[in-house]
Symmetry: none
Subunit: 160 residues, 2 copies
């Protein structure tokens, strides 16, 4: 699953966050009604490594959970690792208008109030507060070049 896109969204009075149609269309409608109508989508949210939330489509999460479950949980380090993934985890389903409701602790963690930015990448979707997004995830050409060099550098086989 290769999700793409940056989407500014607004939370309404009740704290509901609508997932843009452009994003939902990229997901396999893991849905109720056999027809396209009334379909709902399942996700798992999580505290991200940075000050943001991470939204996993359920199938993607299940893949991760399956790998984690193969770890021996009698080992301290493994346990801590598994726990780190479940830190702030919460299962979500879209409502009948393709909206999700995020728990207050999660919103607080990411510093999200009325607005947010969704950043879809690969199999997951990051949810940022606009402020954090511009300061942390912002595109700085110089920094980008540095990173590109560090991460990809020296490997002639990879081209951007």
């Amino acid at each position: 699953m290769q999700l793409i896109g940056e989407y500014p969204v607004a939370l309404d009075e009740k704290g509901r966050l609508r997932l843009p149609t452009a994003l939902l269309r990229q997901l396999p409608a893991h849905a109720a009604g056999s027809n396209g109508e009334g379909a709902s989508y399942e996700f798992v949210v999580n505290r991200g490594f940075e000050k943001c939330l991470t939204l996993y489509p359920k199938p993607v999460w299940d893949g991760i959970a399956a790998k984690l479950s193969r770890l021996n949980s009698f080992n301290d380090r493994n346990r801590a690792f598994i726990r780190s993934f479940h830190y702030g985890a919460y299962p979500l389903t879209t409502d009948s208008a393709d909206r999700i409701l995020l728990q207050k602790p999660l919103l607080d963690y990411a510093g999200i109030a009325k607005e947010a930015v969704l950043l879809a990448m690969g199999g997951k979707i990051e949810i940022w507060s606009p402020e954090q997004y511009t300061s942390t995830a912002a595109f700085d050409p110089n920094e980008f070049a540095d990173l590109a060099n560090t991460v990809m550098g020296g490997d002639d086989e990879i081209e951007l």
Copy 2:
């Protein structure tokens, strides 16, 4: 069984702890009434390896107990391990309002008073005091970089 979620809960005056519906829905209603109504859930609690309690759905516990029983109990280390696993273990059933009642020694062990955090992972549920949870479950991603690489690693389809 893949349980998901972090749930803040409050204990009432009588020390009862209600299991959130979102969590119970993930369990096979190991239940009394043939209909969904009046169903109750069976668990086993235990002292966790960390300063928390571990709640096992009965079927999961049974699986673990079966494995333990296959250990050679003529070996004193095995005997000690089996004993410590049962140390503080206690069977529980939800009451008619989906609440459980934890013994004082267990609450003391985990430092739980009025509030707790439930962390569901894989087949079990950890019960933490909020303080312990934030200090123990917090993690440094870099610390797990190698583990992440080993477990998830090499497989470019899976992302953290």
